[in-house]
Structures are given as C-alpha cells and as structure tokens.
Amino acid sequence: MADSIFRKLRDGGEEGELAPALTIEETVVSPFALDVSCYLLANLSSSILAGKSKGLVLVTFSRSPSFYLQFLKQRGIVVSSSSKWIRVLDCYTDPLGWIDQPSTGVTEGPSLVKLNKCVSDLKRLFSSVIDAGREMVGDGKTRFSVAIDSVNELLRHSSMPLVSGLLTDLRSHAQVSSLFWSLNTDLHQEKVTNALEYISTMKANLEPFCPSPDGKRNALENLFLAHQDFGKGRFHVRFKLRKGRVRVMSEEYHVDQTGINLSPISSAESVIAATKSLIPKVHFNLQLSEKERVEKEKVVLPFEHQDHGKSTEIYDGRRTLADGKTEATPLSSGELQADVVSSGKGGEIIYFRDSDDEHPDSDEDPDDDLDI
C-alpha cells in the first residue's frame, strides 16, 4: 500500500492536471511521520537514480540536511556535492536569521544545500524551490518532485492561507510532478488539518492501536498511556480519485531503529492487541491463560439457557396455579432429589419459598397485624 503512494508520487500527475500531493498526518501518540517521509525519500531517490524519475527538491524544516543525507547514505544512496538529481533547501538551521553569517537570505549559486534564513517569506521560498528544481532539470518540460519534511514550522511562522497558497502554487507549477509534506494534527486546529486535506490528493495518517479520545487536551495523557503499543498502529491512506471517488487502504505499522515497517492487517491480532493495551500495566496477572480460558468456557452457569429444546422457565420463587398443576410432586423434594441424583445430570437448585402459600397479589396488608 505504501508502494501505491510511492508510485503515484514517482509517476506524477498527467499533463494539465495539478501535481499529486500527499499529506502525512501524525499525532503526539504516533509521531512517526518522519519515518514515513524517510521511507518515501529513499524510494524516490532510488527511482531517480534508476532513471524512472528526474529530480527531487527536499525542503527541510524539522531536521538538518545532513540528517537526510546521512540517512540516504545508510540506505546505500550516496549524495555528493556534484549530485545533480537532488537539491536541499535548508530551512532548519537558521530559519529566522539569528545566526550572524554574511548572507543575503538564500545562498547564491548552484550547490547541493542552500540555506534559507527567512522562512516567513513564502514567495521567496516558492521561488527558491523552483530555482533549485530548475538547476537540476532545466527550464523545459522536465519535472521534479518536492518533499517538505514538515509544515508545522511553516504554520508557526505564516498563516494558514499563505501556507495553503504556497502548496497550491507548487502543485500548479508545470515542472512540479508531485509533492508531499507531513503535519502533526495535535499541534493545529482542525480547520488547518482540513484545509491541507482539501489540497491533497492523498492523505496518510498514523493511528496508534490505542486511539486517543477526542480533544487535543488528552493527547499528552494518551502519550503516557500508550504502554506497550507505542510504536505500533495502523497506517491508513485515503486516495482521492479524479472522478470523485475515494479509496481507503490500511496496513499495520511497526517502527524500529531502521524505520517504519508496514504489513497487512491481522484483524485478530489487532483486536487482541487493542484489548491488551487497555489492561493497566501492573505486576500481577489480570489476564487468563489459554488453558484457563478453555476451562472457563466449559463451565455451565446455573441459570444459563441450556437449549435442550424445552422453553426456558425462570423460577422466581413463587409457584403459580398453573405450576401447581404441571408440577405434580413439588413437595416431595426428597424423591425429586433422588431422581436428580440417579439421573446423574449434576446439581440442581430446588427452592421453596416460605411464602409459597400466599397468592402473589394478595389484598391483605402484611402489616395489618402490627399493633400500632
């Protein structure tokens, strides 16, 4: 399923259509959008080197460019200053121009990594992305992909409409073949998440096995309640098809040192996992073993419907007149008990109320005999 996303990003959109765009949504409890981005980055890079795609502009806000270059190197993709298939726009190191460096704002000249010292100027950012892409593929019809590691910082420094405008402008540009970014939905209002979803053709979200209840106020509490399922969950992808249909696909994810691992959903395991995660973590056993579960299922409860073909009669302790006719020998309990014992059917509770002689709806006031 993740391959479906990657293929759409690699192939890009058709001519005359806006570029496909992917939003990767994470939460405080499932903060693994970086892993998904790195997965897509590695695959896109491999496809570019294999000649199936042309170029990639990586805009970094949450991690340094060296982090991604080191990551790619670890995946066997070596990036050097002479690489012509990738450009990195560094909006991480000095986004507000605090560091004293002799720079006019964006590093001039062709280079692998360009520093951007004014992330709030989105027009300039847009131009920088396009210029970086054209450095790789030229001004013609050849297209390149754009990856933004996180829009959280963008949204801190610029308003939602401006950020939305930037992403739409990138999608609309003739030379941008595809675009993806990540967002932490707990950090923003719902309208921001919705606005970004509107301009996406694909939305991927990471849902932990222990879903949090509504309300961002509980996000922190849920992080500390995640227990053993932290790092696992479901990866949902929503594809918006051209005709208006929506296709949703889901997989299970598990995150480790190497990154995110995706696998088909195992429904039984996920239900059991979700159930297990609700049990508080204590140092004594609250669960049943398999043997105990089997023995428990064998126990016949005393008032359980036995389904022997007879209608169920629930004895409430009072015998009706009808019961008096049908039950021939209710008082001969000894004989009845003997029958029960000889038949070997097991225990039976026989109860005779003291007040059996009274009619249920007697008009007599039981307190009449009190001398008040």
Partner: protein
C-alpha cells in the same frame, strides 16, 4: 557507586555509550511533584568523574548556591567543575534579557558561542540544560511562547550540528487553558525523551514520593551501528532521600 545504574538510567539508556548525544530531553513536572531532582541527577551524571562531558546550565529558577548545595549532597562539587571548565553556569537571574525576539536570539548566540569554544577543546558530549522553560518564557520573551519555541528550535539545531544534548524542565500544570496545549505539545514533539514526574494516584505517601514515566521516542537512526532503545515507555516510582533517589517498580521491594 557512581557507576551503578538505576531505573532512570536504564530508561534513558545511560547504560549505553553516549546515549543522550544529539537528543532532546524534556522533563515535565507539576505542583504536587517537582521534577527538579531529575535535573539534579542528570547534572550529576554529566559531571561524573568517569566522564569528560561538559554542561552549560541556564539557571532561571535558582542561584548557583542552591545547585551547589544540592549537588554536594549527591557527591558532586559544582565549584570545582566550574574551575575545570566542565561547567558553564549562566545565571539568568542576574542577567537582563530584553523581552523580545532579539533577546532570545542573543541568548542563543551566546550559547552557540560557548558550545563552539567547548567543542574546540573537547570532543566529548556537551549538554545544555534549562531550568526552567516557563521562567525563560517570562524573563526572556515577555510571555511570548512563539519566541520560546523559536529558541528551542535553535537549541535543537545544536543537537544535530554540534552533537549536543538538550535537557529542559517545564511545568505542565501552568498551561491549563485551552489555548496553551499546543505550546506544551510542541515541546513534547520536539523531545526525543519525555520524563513526566507526577504524584501517585493514591495521593501522598511517606515511603513513595511519586512516579516517573519515561517515554523514549528516539527517532529513525541516521547513524549506522547500534541504536539506542526506541519507542519504549517505562513507569516506576521514586523516593527522595537525603543524598540520593531510590527508584523501584510498584509493589517491588526496594534495594
């Protein structure tokens, strides 16, 4: 004794070499249970005679004498460490920081300069500690949380560019209004390790002073080789003694 590893050390991965290098640690506490002891424990670890790590401490909450007194009881002499240039103590109570963006920018540049100087003489880990973020917000930014987050972002760049560690303490319960949860969550998202100090659900007790929950998120490893523990969550209780802290699992006998 100093090399003994307790539950907090294990949760932080301190049994591995340089586990906090390049990482951000956030300590959250509340009125009922102060998390300062965690900060003191980490100070002691950083300035341990068995390591050559350095510490840059931004003190907004208390003067040097307070920390000196506390760490002495834990077996660490801060004055000696200052003399040895292993400790750079920045007393923000005495410093006046202008309450706008340029104030925090200047503060960051000073920290960056100090890191550069230390890095020129040692390749060991450099830890930047802030006690505490809420007071930084008041003193340096006039309660502008955006400036605080900008400052944190720039400190985060030190963890990747200069391979430093960043440890901050923040009070979770002073941001109770609906408008502020995102600010807390931003800090949680930035952190690789979150340590939450809170009281027991059953209330005060003589022999158990609270519980710690440590979430070690880690991140995808961009470096080859052994990786530290990732996506681990641990919960245990603690008791603050005169000259140390005892950590134990609920219901277990303490050593």
């Amino acid at each position: 004794m100093d090399r003994s590893v307790n539950l907090l050390d294990l949760a932080l991965g301190l049994d591995e070499p340089s586990p906090l290098r390049g990482k951000v640690v956030l300590i959250e506490d509340c009125v009922e249970t102060s998390g300062s002891f965690v900060l003191h424990q980490m100070m002691k670890r950083v300035l341990s005679p068995h390591s050559s790590d350095s510490l840059i401490f931004l003190a907004f909450a208390r003067p040097f004498s307070h920390y000196d007194r506390v760490l002495r009881k834990l077996g660490c002499n801060l004055s000696t460490q200052k003399t040895n240039n292993r400790l750079v103590f920045v007393d923000m109570l005495m410093m006046k920081c202008s309450d706008n963006e340029s104030g925090v920018a200047k503060l960051f540049r000073e920290i960056q300069g100090t890191v550069g100087k230390l890095r020129s003489v040692t390749n060991s880990n450099i830890t930047v500690m802030v006690d505490d973020m809420s007071l930084l917000e008041i003193a340096a930014t006039n309660s502008n949380s955006d400036h605080v987050l900008d400052f944190l972002h720039y400190c985060h760049t030190l963890t990747s560019e200069s391979n430093c560690s960043l440890v901050t303490l923040n009070h979770e319960d002073i941001y109770s209004s609906m408008e502020r949860p995102a600010y807390l969550l931003q800090m949680v998202c930035l952190a690789d390790i979150v340590i939450k100090a809170e009281p027991l659900a059953s209330g005060l007790a003589n022999d158990v002073h609270g519980q710690l929950t440590v979430v070690n998120k880690g991140m995808i490893s961009s470096k080859s080789g052994k990786g530290s523990s990732r996506n681990k969550l641990q919960n245990f209780q603690f008791r603050i003694k005169e000259n140390g802290i005892e950590y134990f699992y609920p219901g277990c006998s303490r050593n």
